[in-house]
């Protein structure tokens, strides 16, 4: 029986090549898209779920009021780890992980900059990062041991044994390799190539026991069967107990591993959305794309039911029961689903590298994993069932006495559900078109926003190694050689704010004012280097005004907040340091182009510095400029590589997340439209076949080709119109929600909807009219003779 079914199914497929192509390719593309999305989702939800003790691992968080809002964040005092181990009986162990840090590694003549973490010795006993060599219990003991990932060890030592070798860090201290870590999986929040013991920080004097310095991450491992609630009760009162000076309402809490990746977005002290929203949204999109492909299958299978009706009739006459026919047709759709899945996996394999790039992830299909095959089988069967159940019940319910007499007309009987399915497809497609267009508008809107400074030819470099010490010499040579037109050192790159404070004081300040200012430092000619617009006063100029080292330039918003009649000459206190204002600049975008600019204070040369900015001389070729700049940097900072960054590239990176959203929306929109149009094309084909006699009669009676084309296309276009009417408000609502997250955003315009409507309309006209015209120009004599 099965063999008979299989034979029929395969012969049907090969005989109706067009139908098979549309069905299988639509389903394969839909499946491939769904698989890609599922891979992404799987990667997201598996973040840090591989730690054996994940059920007991928590991160310590702060919760306190700032500017009238309850804020939550995950940097806590360094002293916290030892304190919870001492004070909370529920705690088995606590480890600190400092911010990722780059060191210059020197091994013989080899130099490379490597990023990693400095951690407490218990790190490897808490998290499951296995050591290929070395003992996890002792590898991080002492202050001079270092662990390398397998990849880094290979990069440094090649095939030589790395264990026991010495590496010099930042040209100061020698470290001995005491362990080789297995390379980190993709799905962890940790990104380190080396691990150093916390003892190193102690030795260089960077450890502290201040409760006010919330600067590290503390991870806590609870004992088995310990209660999180009772641990959190104790966490709540920890800060006020040890830090009497600060807000007594300041709380701390433990936040579980399972929620770090997807839920850790807090608004007013409560979890609020986060990545989980995207995971859900993408899940829905995956399901919808697959559903749309399944709808094609249903529509085409039922549309061509007349072709199968005879077979159903005969099978029933010779004794088939409805049940066995349902089984046959579902089996057939599972077979098609299987063939489509094979193609889908090929498509996924081809698309994975680009999709990985788009999502910034290393995604892959693990063919060695039994779960993959189980999932694949489940996926195929479910798709087959979804796609095949409706046609199966529809086809198997035919009355044999009618179909075998030839009086049977199924096509019209099914118009309504089929129309409904087409509407569903196009609604989804149009929603995606509208979303794509609005996301693109929003990106353009922010990108076209005046940044307030000139990004061309502006380069920055971290003040690594001896650069800070030799800054004057470097600056001098950059200028005198004609490489740079202007050089400024600053506290942070011009594209990022690294510091903010509400602690500034000035004359006439309202004591309750807690306005948060961006805090920045620059030594000289900051407006020239960056191309900022000076409104009042002047730039820093240490040669003519040595007191400019305590000068300050404020932006317009800051001047407004401080409410000076004439800001120039006014004193602003930052802690014990008194600055005097020498200039006012126009606001510029320091942080997000989607947010309003904040009030900003730029302190003079007395401040702290991390970055050197220089404006390249545009009359020389850039490559030439950089080559010569490298020589200068090498001369004064020989141990460190020359690692410059272009400001315009960094600025462009601010749009990456939204661009990704836009590209994905566009991709899904294109796929949905493509699959829907495949289906529409198939339907139009069968419609043209079914109405061939009607067309013949109409032509004999004098209908024109245009008239008939319009007649045939009209029905489908009506459906697209209905879809548009349904899709527009849904898309409006979705985009309204999305744009709420961006204070600086576009207004949704009616033109976008018109565009989406016209686009989908045009695409469907093209799809349908081919068949309509073909049917309309056919010779009626021929079509009438076929009856």
């Amino acid at each position: 029986m099965i063999r008979n079914y299989l034979k029929i199914a395969l012969r049907n497929l090969s005989r109706n090549k067009g139908f098979s192509f549309i069905n299988i390719s639509g389903l394969a593309i839909g499946m491939a898209a769904a698989i890609l999305i599922l891979l992404w989702i799987q990667s997201e939800i598996s973040y840090d779920q591989f730690h054996e003790k994940r059920e007991r691992i928590y991160e310590a968080w702060n919760k306190a009021h700032f500017s009238g809002k309850l804020q939550c964040w995950n940097t806590t005092p360094k002293i916290l780890a030892r304190t919870v181990e001492k004070d909370l009986p529920e705690v088995e162990r606590a480890v600190r992980v400092n911010w990722p840090r780059s060191f210059l590694f020197s091994i013989g003549d080899k130099r490379l900059t490597v990023a990693g973490n400095i951690v407490d010795t218990g790190f490897l006993q808490m998290f499951s990062f296995p050591l290929l060599k070395g003992d996890p219990k002792t590898a991080l003991n002492g202050g001079f041991s270092i662990l390398l990932t397998e990849k880094l060890a290979q990069k440094i030592f090649g095939d030589e044994e790395a264990m026991g070798k010495t590496i010099k860090l930042d040209n100061k201290d020698n470290f001995t390799v005491t362990g080789i870590l297995k390379d980190l999986p993709n799905n962890t929040r940790f990104k380190f190539e080396y691990l150093l013991p916390w003892g190193y920080l102690v030795r260089v004097g960077e450890d502290d026991s201040s409760w006010g310095n919330n600067s590290t991450r503390n991870y806590v491992l609870l004992k088995e069967n310990a209660s999180l609630a009772s641990a959190n009760e104790k966490m709540k009162v920890l800060k006020p107990r040890y830090d009497k000076d600060d807000d007594p309402a300041w709380e701390m809490f433990l936040y579980p591993v399972s929620r770090w990746r997807l839920y850790s977005n807090f608004t007013n002290g409560k979890e609020d959305g986060g990545l989980i929203e995207f995971v859900k949204l993408f899940g829905v999109i995956a399901a919808f794309i697959l559903l749309i492909a399944c709808i094609n299958f249903m529509n085409l299978s039922t549309a061509r039911s007349e072709k199968r009706a005879k077979e159903v009739g005969i099978r029933k006459v010779v004794g088939a029961q409805k049940r066995s026919l349902v089984g046959q047709f579902i089996g057939e759709s599972i077979l098609i689903s299987f063939i489509a899945a094979v193609f889908a996996i090929l498509i996924v394999q081809v698309a994975l590298p680009s999709f990985g790039q788009l999502t910034d992830k290393k995604l892959f299909l693990d063919f060695t994993d039994i779960r993959f095959w189980l999932f694949a089988a489940g996926f195929i069967i479910v798709t087959g069932l979804v796609a095949g159940s409706y046609p199966a019940f529809f086809l198997s319910s035919f009355n044999p006495s009618k179909v075998l007499k030839g009086t049977f007309k199924a096509a019209n009987a099914l118009i309504t559900p089929r129309k409904l399915l087409v509407v569903l497809q196009f609604t989804f497609a149009i929603i995606l078109i509208i979303c794509t267009a609005i996301v693109k508008q929003q990106i353009d809107h922010a990108r076209n926003r005046e940044s307030g400074y000139v990004r061309d030819n502006l380069v920055y470099h971290f003040l690594t190694g001896d650069l800070d010490k030799n800054y004057a010499l470097v600056k001098n040579e950059l200028l005198s050689s004609g490489i740079a037109k202007s050089v400024t050192k600053t506290s942070a790159p011009i594209t990022q704010g690294w510091s903010d404070s509400w602690g500034f004081e000035w004359e006439g300040k309202d004591p309750n004012d807690k306005t948060d200012f961006d805090r920045y430092s620059a030594d000289e000619s900051v407006t020239t280097t960056m191309g900022l617009t000076l409104i009042k006063g002047r730039d820093f100029n240490l040669k003519e005004f040595p007191t400019d080292s305590l000068g300050m330039i404020v932006n317009e918003s800051a001047a407004k907040v401080m409410n000076f009649k004439d800001p120039i000459g006014q004193i602003v206190k930052d802690g014990d340091t008194k600055y005097h204002i020498i200039g006012v600049i126009k606001d510029f975008i320091l942080q997000s182009p989607y947010y309003p600019t904040k009030p900003m204070l730029i302190g003079g040369a007395k401040g702290w510095f991390n970055i050197i900015h220089f404006k390249l001389n545009g009359s020389n070729p850039t490559a030439d400029n950089l080559k010569r700049a490298e020589a200068i940097f090498k001369k004064y900072n020989p141990e460190y590589p020359f690692e410059y960054k272009f400001v315009d590239e960094e600025y462009a990176a601010k749009f990456k997340a939204e661009e990704r959203t836009g590209t994905l929306a566009a991709l899904f929109a294109a796929l949905t439209i493509f699959i829907s149009c495949l289906g529409l094309f198939g339907l139009a084909t069968y419609m043209a076949e079914n109405r061939i006699k009607e067309i013949g009669v109409r032509k004999v009676l004098g209908a024109s080709v245009t008239g008939i084309t319009a007649l045939l296309s009209k029905d489908f276009l009506k459906l697209v119109m209905i879809s548009f009417v349904i899709a527009s408000p849904v898309a409006w609502w979705m985009m309204h929600q999305w744009l709420r997250d961006y204070p600086y955003h576009v207004n949704i315009q009616w033109q976008v909807f018109a565009f989406a409507g016209l686009l989908s309309f045009a695409i469907s006209v093209l799809t349908v009219s081919y068949q309509s015209v073909k049917a309309a120009v056919a010779n009626p004599v021929k079509s009438l003779r076929t009856e």
Partner: protein, 225 residues
């Protein structure tokens, strides 16, 4: 073998009500060859569908082999049908995607005959119908006469007690038509009961008895000599 009494069947659409069978009563004995004749729309096809258990009557009694089947559900009807009744249609109704062999094999699959036995029986019947040499061809590759022979082969492969033929020669030329009629006669002589709907007086002469219908009723019965 067949006894129908006061059988009624009405087809309804929104606007029209068509009485297809109007209190029809007929009896067919085992081993008989009966022809049903009448103008288009007189209800002969409806009668054949009900006899073939493809359709159910609105009222009346239908006793098949001593069992009342008028109220059987679809599953029971299918079961009874596949074991006892073979069909021959005017338009052959072979499945285009299956070969001659596979078309004839189909009823055996549904009655659960083992593959080895199926092969034997299909070959037997193909041999008898003299189309063995065409066993691996598809229906489209055969002439009309050959297709109808395949259809007859399919109808008899399960050794049914009753064969229902709906204008079996309607799509054939006279020589092929005669051949098919001869086949049915042979089957009848070997004991199979045959009920045949036809427009052709010539074909009807092969039968034992002609039932003439009009407006869903029998109007005349001719016994052939």
């Amino acid at each position: 073998m067949i006894k129908i009494t006061d059988l009624e069947k009405v087809y309804r659409t929104d606007e029209v009500e068509t009485v297809a069978l109007n209190k029809l009563s007929i009896e067919v004995k085992e081993g008989e060859f009966v022809a049903v004749m009448g103008p288009s729309g007189c209800g002969k096809s409806t009668l054949l569908n009900i006899l073939g258990l493809l359709d159910d009557p609105d009222s009346g009694s239908f006793i098949f082999n001593g069992i009342e089947v008028a109220k059987f559900n679809e599953r029971k009807r299918a079961d009874l049908r596949k074991r006892n009744i073979g069909f021959v249609f005017q338009s052959f109704n072979l499945i285009d995607e299956l070969t001659v062999f596979e078309n004839v094999e189909l009823p055996l699959i549904y009655t659960g005959v083992k593959p080895g036995d199926r092969k034997k029986r299909v070959e037997e019947v193909l041999d008898k119908m003299q189309i063995m040499h065409r066993r691996n061809h598809y229906p489209q590759q055969l002439s009309g006469g050959q297709q109808q022979r395949v259809a007859v082969a399919r109808a008899v492969v399960n050794k049914p007690k009753l064969i229902l033929a709906d204008e079996p020669t309607g799509n054939l030329d006279s020589s092929n038509g005669n051949e098919v009629m001869q086949m049915l006669t042979d089957l009848n002589e070997q004991g199979t009961t045959i009920v045949m709907v036809t427009h052709s007086e010539h074909d009807a002469r092969y039968s034992h008895r002609i039932i003439r219908m009009l407006d869903g009723q029998t109007v005349l019965e001719n016994i052939m000599v």
